[in-house]
Subunit: 245 residues, 2 copies
């Protein structure tokens, strides 16, 4: 019992809040991160930088410590051209689903940077990574996919601090990209990410700037104790929080 | 055309890499974030702090700028007790799915802090938030769930810098928690998060410390151009990256 407690103590280490400067840095990464479609600069990302981004992704939480992700790096222009063709076909189908002015606006939006960004990363989830029964996935079969999304978000924030923009492309038939990259049947594609250096980003999400959809009030999305019960204390707290610089 | 370009210029702003100190802060948040089950301290989280965490979540990327998330704050002990009962029932079922020594180890793990942590946040996804056809969800119906997970990961990293631990509970029947909180049929629960101040965290993920499952080699999870093609350049780059302090 004593030795177990000793191990436990060694495994735990002090963890306090960050300094104000370090805290601000993390909030700034979160607030200024954007989904980039067109601001990519052409020069290649160094291997060391890509390794840091992947290490950040690999540090994500995962259900049952399953680490279900894989990362396929795609630099080859021919492969990116083929992926873009898959996007284009799906995007034509997508445009047809919108009516009237909305379809016109949709067709005028640039929704991907597959050919412009020098690097794409296809992020996948292997449900068989830790056997058929996974701690924490027993009652929610999507938990492995959610873990993989956490890896994507870690990578995205790390990219922001490196001066690298990321765009998440979701408009394609999964079968097309799986065939292109030789991805096994059991494995699911979670994200196709486009990456490249950027020297400017939108102040607000591009879809808001372009008039597609505006930011919702956070206050309306927060409830207390039960669905639909307004959380006025949050609104009051927000008034007291100094605005982000 | 000129005025449009002008608007575009105003909407874009310079965005460079962060300073080395700020970059290190973000990587440190990513690397030291843990899934907390037992280290929660009892004192309440101030409203201002909770508002900052929710604002970080609300800054997540979302498909079609849909912002499909809601956040239900649960402080009431009776509600948390009821949620814990739902966990306990599901966890007994889960334990039975593991055999022999693995079941023994499973039963010895503490997998949640619902009653110990002073605040729970139930994070949900409303698929109807932006109408039936959503930009970017046309070919992947899970994109709204993925957006909601990005919000969870933002909140988790923000919590780390605030000295707040977060634990993601996934072992319950969704119907039990939906009934408890009055969540509408159409809305999906993505995460039940337990939050509280912490003054220590595990050096490595708790499931590794407790011998459940170890960290995989990142090198084995990265491919180049095609599934299964090793990315030796990443291994080489990793050797050159200085280890995190």
């Amino acid at each position: 019992m004593t030795s177990e407690s000793g191990c436990e103590e060694q495994a735990l280490k002090p963890a306090s809040a960050f300094s104000e400067a370090d805290r601000d840095a993390v909030y700034r990464a979160i607030e200024t991160r954007r989904d980039v479609r067109d601001q990519f600069l052409p020069h290649a990302l160094p291997d060391e930088l890509v390794a840091r981004l992947l290490a950040a992704a690999h540090a994500a939480p995962s259900v049952g410590f399953m680490q279900p992700w894989n990362f396929l790096l795609i630099r080859d222009q021919a492969v990116r051209d083929a992926a873009w063709e898959a996007f284009r076909r799906a995007n034509d189908e997508a445009a047809e689903m919108f009516a009237g002015d909305q379809q016109t606006l949709y067709r005028n939006l640039k929704l991907e940077g597959i050919r412009k960004a020098p690097l794409s990363i296809c992020v996948t989830c292997d449900p068989d990574r830790a056997g058929p029964v996974v701690l924490g996935r027993t009652h929610n079969p999507k938990m492995d996919l959610y873990s993989t999304v956490c890896a994507v978000q870690n990578l995205w924030l790390a990219a922001r601090v490196e001066g690298v923009g990321v765009g998440w492309v979701s408009i394609f038939h999964e079968a097309d990209i799986k065939a292109l990259l030789g991805i096994p049947e059991r494995v699911q594609i979670v994200a196709w990410l486009c990456l490249g250096y950027v020297d400017q980003l939108y102040r607000e999400p591009e879809l808001a700037v372009k008039g597609w959809r505006q930011r919702l009030s956070l206050e309306d999305l927060v409830f207390i104790e039960r669905w639909g019960r307004p959380a006025s204390l949050i609104a009051e707290a927000e008034d007291r929080v100094s605005p982000a610089s």
